[in-house]
């Protein structure tokens, strides 16, 4: 046996059924329910316009819409391989829909930082509006206790703020402004960069249909991940793992407007302890919904309190 059965059960259940977030529930509340089933979201005006524009741009693009329609995948659809035009349509529609604002929840199960075979799981909740971001990460405590620790990072107009307790334990929690932190793009990863993984060479095939957050989606799976550019890797994972990484599985769920609703990615890397694997699920919520992300009214800037 590779590992104790109890450990394997935990790994299996928590990886295959990752934690549910409040944001996901909020999405379901918005969608509403019809009996015990759920109805799809009404068309979003912004996205519809984007898709319509893409349709005008080229006839081949319309083929993507036909394939990725909102109805459950017919048996005839399953196994269909997406053409380059279809993949391009998904990328275009998703980029347009997410261009202004959105909200993603990343759930991950990853090896412990020490590189052991043990896994930890957590969530990263990112709201974005243009180039402003608010990220709330819920991560396991380093000491292994059941409670979680929370990291809050906000980027407004390129300025980075974090909510935390710095210095002595007796100091209160407050916002801190890192005026010298010039790489704001690294403070909160832009979830829209994940769309780069939608490469025609990945050989996406329709494998079925699924309700995601109450929305009927087509489930696509990449079949040729070895053809993805290696330069993409650093843009994909939300988990820091030492050493070279490889994307070993990629699933994408797209709605009737060809907008990505969810991604599932599995990575692997080699460590002195052997081969490590981890998985992340990214759910796209509140697509195009206007968000206002503002700088904290009060914050500590290089030892002085502002505001």
């Amino acid at each position: 046996m590779r590992r104790e059965v109890c450990d394997q059960i935990r790994d299996y259940v928590d990886t295959a059924a990752p934690a549910i977030s409040l944001a996901e529930l909020a999405e379901r509340r918005t969608v509403g329910r019809r009996g015990l089933g759920r109805r799809p979201l009404p068309p979003r005006r912004g996205t519809f316009g984007a898709v319509t524009g893409a349709m005008v741009a080229g006839g081949a693009v319309a083929a993507g819409l036909t394939l990725a329609g909102g109805a459950p995948a017919r048996p005839a659809d399953v196994g269909i391989r997406l053409s380059a035009a279809m993949v391009h349509q998904v990328t275009t529609a998703s980029s347009e829909a997410l261009a202004s604002a959105g909200h993603v929840v990343v759930t991950f199960s990853a090896p412990e930082p020490a590189g052991t075979a043990a896994h930890v799981s957590g969530t990263i909740d990112i709201t974005f509006s243009g180039h402003d971001f608010n990220s709330v990460s819920r991560l396991p405590q380093p000491n292994g206790s059941a409670s979680q620790r929370k990291l809050v990072v906000r980027v407004v107009n390129g300025q980075v703020y974090t909510l935390g307790i710095f210095g002595a334990p007796s100091r209160r929690q407050q916002w801190h402004h890192f005026s010298n932190y010039t790489e704001s793009g690294r403070a909160v990863p832009d979830p829209r960069r994940l769309l780069q993984v939608l490469q025609p060479d990945a050989g996406f095939e329709v494998v079925g249909s699924q309700l995601i957050g109450g929305v009927q989606t087509k489930h696509l799976r990449a079949t040729q991940l070895t053809d993805l550019p290696a330069s993409l890797m650093s843009s994909l994972t939300f988990v820091s793992v030492m050493g070279p990484q490889q994307l070993t599985a990629l699933d994408v769920w797209v709605d009737s407007h060809d907008v990505v609703r969810q991604m599932g990615m599995t990575f692997s890397s080699r460590s002195p302890q052997g081969r490590l694997a981890w998985h992340q699920t990214i759910r796209f919520l509140d697509i195009g919904k206007p968000e206002t992300i503002t700088a904290p009214a009060q914050y500590v800037n290089q030892g002085t309190t502002n505001g």
């Binding site: 059965v5 109890c6 059960i9 549910i20 509340r29």
Partner: protein, 172 residues
């Protein structure tokens, strides 16, 4: 895509029962309910049923927050949803990704157990929940949970070809 490395901020403690918020309740109950329903109906259907049950609780929080055993109630709500959505015969199967760290035979072996055995094995042996916690959630008697956990574990071990007593001493 490295997040800025800042010092961790501990989560505030859950509010007292008189003023418990849905968020506090959700944080406390989500892992148990999700795992229980995932064990019963498979990860996809079970997780979806748990999310629906929590959504229902959130929508009716004023009324439901007064219930003595709300996790148990939501478990029954989830059961109703899970049963309607269950895709037989496959409950658990090896995931699509390849580099997982558990035995490939585990999902199929779990599927071969009865629902109550699967529930008890996952919660008691997989996650270490007490018999009392599982009984309160599921409405089963503690002795029933114990019996299901023991019998289910024996079947699981047999299906996965586990022999010897090294794991049995830990209840494995």
């Amino acid at each position: 895509m490295d997040a800025l490395d800042v010092e961790a901020v501990p989560e505030p403690p859950a509010a007292g029962s008189a003023a418990v918020t849905f968020e506090a309740f959700f944080r406390d109950t989500e892992p148990r309910l999700r795992r229980a329903l995932a064990a019963l109906y498979g990860p996809e259907q079970g997780r979806d049923a748990a999310a629906e049950a929590f959504t229902y609780a959130w929508q009716h929080w004023d009324r439901l927050s007064q219930m003595a055993n709300l996790p148990g109630y939501l478990f029954r709500v989830g059961q109703t949803l899970g049963v309607r959505r269950k895709r037989q015969p496959v409950l658990h199967e090896a995931p699509a990704w390849k580099d997982y760290e558990f035995e490939p035979a585990l999902p199929k072996a779990l599927s071969a157990l009865s629902g109550q055995q699967r529930l008890a094995v996952v919660l008691v042996h997989g996650y270490g929940y007490t018999l009392r916690e599982v009984a309160e959630l599921t409405g089963l008697r503690r002795t029933s949970v114990q019996n299901h956990a023991e019998r289910g574990l024996a079947k699981l071990r047999a299906a996965m070809g586990i022999t010897g007593s090294s794991g049995a001493q830990r209840g494995l």
